[in-house]
């Protein structure tokens, strides 16, 4: 089985700082693997360990520094990784991004059986790239996946979390899965993993390598654009009181609730 992982480097959203002009400070902010992608990696590696003929390739679209996260994925047990990177990709929305990733998968991996992504990226948080890749590749899709429970004769069984419960779904490959946080934690790489990652050669491909044109990528290839970005309105906090004892606290709360 040919498995492709799509992962993204994101700024650590717990570490956002503001400049004086109310824009987000980009310099000096920690970059991390998108947390949901960590579960995608873990899930892909677990599946590979269960099957005896699986090969996992990890891909990321991003700046040259994103090589780091590809190496991290290799250290966790992914077989190989490549980067799609080109200045022309800048300003891509989810449609242009998924078109680029889908083209990269077609050109550089060939007939993938399974593509695994994170359900959301914590910076953009659109949850759109996975389903759009599925559409571009004409694959089936399952979103909000918690776990792969079985694989037999080209059919994967997965658990999907929805508003009011959990669905068990059979999906025919080829397919795209979008992973939520799982009940298991992503593994820590072993020493051999670090060695493998250190030695891994991460290829980088540009727009021409994946046979796309300037109209199809980046800002030009994106139907949407940001017209304005601003800091959310800060709500004014009300009173903060330190009551003398729990009885007084409870009385204040009760009065407030009944008001």
């Amino acid at each position: 089985m040919k498995i492709v992982l799509c992962i993204k480097q994101v700024p650590d959203t717990a570490d956002i700082k503001w400049t004086e002009n109310n824009t987000i400070q980009r310099e000096g902010v920690e970059s991390v693997i998108n947390p949901f992608d960590m579960y995608a990696i873990e899930t892909a590696v677990r599946l590979k360990e269960k099957l005896n003929d699986a090969h996992v390739t990890v891909v990321s679209m991003g700046p040259p520094q994103a090589e780091e996260i590809l190496k991290k994925a290799v250290s966790m047990g992914v077989d190989e990784g490549f980067l799609v990177s080109d200045r022309k990709f800048a300003g891509a929305d989810t449609v242009a991004t998924s078109r680029t990733l889908a083209a990269a998968i077609k050109e550089k991996v060939g007939d993938a059986d399974l593509v695994i992504c994170g359900q959301f990226a914590t910076d953009g948080d659109t949850a759109q790239t996975g389903p759009s890749i599925a559409q571009q590749l004409n694959f089936a899709q399952v979103t909000y996946v918690k776990e792969i429970t079985d694989y037999k004769d080209g059919v994967l069984t997965v658990k999907k979390e929805v508003e009011d419960g959990v669905e068990t779904i059979d999906v025919k490959l080829p397919a795209v899965l979008c992973m939520l946080k799982c009940d298991y934690e992503p593994r820590r790489p072993l020493i051999q993993g670090f060695v493998k990652a250190h030695d891994a050669k991460i290829q980088s491909y540009g727009m021409d390598d994946i046979k796309l044109s300037p109209e199809e990528v980046g800002m030009k290839g994106s139907p949407t654009y940001v017209s304005k970005a601003f800091r959310p309105e800060q709500k004014q906090g009300g009173e903060v009181i330190t009551p003398k004892n729990p009885q007084e606290a409870a009385k204040m709360l009760k009065d407030f609730i009944n008001r």
């Binding site: 700024p11 759109q128 389903p131 559409q135 999906v171 601003f230 009300g238």
Partner: protein
């Protein structure tokens, strides 16, 4: 821009239980405003289902037309069938704006549709407006709620998903003489590649669902154990509310993810939100700061949760909550 496209189409999601998802009426209310600003264009709906009985809801919420696509095969949501039908209806009716609830179903369907139509889709919006050029200006939080972005779309139709409980339903909705138009699904030859083989409904710890409750008692890491949440359940029962949680409490395994509130959980907008031992990280507050009244109880006077609270009480949850339950009962 393509002037052929006109009107607003709302995807009228039908839930597993055959009911109209409540987000549809929230969208309908906002769509009326948008339609006005566009000079009185139509507000229409698309229903995909195996049967259709909810005519009056559409008439009583100002819809001009409802396109109904019915078939036995369409009883439950399925990506292949539903996206094909939605695309066909958009191509045939040419709306300028398509609005979809950002539910698990909507967020599965919408990108599949927009990507096929090569048009833009703005995800998980919290505010919709029409700009001076008559374009949909869709505003949404990014970077975990740290930044708001207003997004425009240069192709047609302009698509957006909106989180449930963010926009308000109309208090006095317009009543219209809605036209119901049955359309035949063109799904022969389409092979649905997914099949739901089992569904297990979440067990409800308290009687109410957090996305429906008017009072929510939410607990965080400071509750220290599942027993801590038992205390909150008691308070919830006393107030007729539901229990919610921060991600830290969910990650600790004390409560189920289905009651997590925040960026990676649910957005709620109850009349009263009581945050117990929750620090108030932005990823949490984006999911609850639109509540009418917010109370925070935290023993750290500097906890950021106090910045969004209408009433902040500095103190120990384990001392205050039992006393409050006592006083409420007494």
């Amino acid at each position: 821009m393509d002037n052929e496209n006109k009107g607003i189409l709302i995807y009228a999601e039908i839930t597993r239980d055959g009911e109209l998802a409540s987000v549809v009426l929230e969208l309908a209310n906002t769509a009326q405003d948008l339609a006005q600003k566009l000079g009185g264009v139509e507000v229409n709906a698309l229903v995909i289902s195996s049967e259709f009985t909810q005519h009056s809801i559409f008439q009583n919420n100002g819809f001009d037309k409802v396109y109904v696509v019915k078939d036995e095969k369409l009883k439950y949501y399925n990506t292949e069938y539903y996206s094909k039908i939605t695309i066909d209806v958009i191509n045939e009716t040419k709306p300028q704006i398509v609005l979809i609830g950002a539910t698990t179903q909507g967020r599965d369907l919408a990108p599949r549709v927009s990507s096929t139509l090569n048009t833009g889709l703005t995800a998980d919006c919290t505010h919709l407006d029409i700009n001076e050029k008559g374009m949909l200006a869709a505003t949404r939080p990014t970077f975990g709620g740290n930044l708001m972005a207003t997004i425009l779309c240069k192709n047609m139709p302009q698509m957006a998903t909106v989180r449930p409980k963010v926009l308000k339903k109309a208090e006095n909705p317009i009543v219209k003489n809605t036209e119901f138009i049955e359309m035949k699904p063109q799904i022969n030859g389409i092979d649905p590649k997914t099949e739901i083989i089992e569904f297990i409904k979440n067990i409800q710890t308290t009687g109410k669902r957090i996305d429906e409750a008017e009072v929510i008692i939410a607990g965080g890491k400071g509750l220290k154990s599942p027993e801590g949440f038992k205390l909150l359940e008691e308070l919830a029962n006393a107030l007729g509310g539901a229990v919610g949680a921060s991600r830290a409490a969910v990650d600790a395994g004390w409560v189920d993810h289905s009651i997590q509130i925040g960026q990676t959980g649910k957005t709620v907008m109850p009349k009263l939100y009581i945050a117990c031992a929750i620090s108030g990280a932005v990823q949490h507050t984006v999911g609850m700061n639109s509540s009418d009244k917010i109370i925070a109880i935290n023993k750290d006077p500097k906890a950021p949760i106090f910045q969004v609270a209408d009433l902040g009480i500095v103190g120990d949850v384990f001392e205050i909550v039992p006393e409050l339950i006592k006083q409420l009962k007494g």
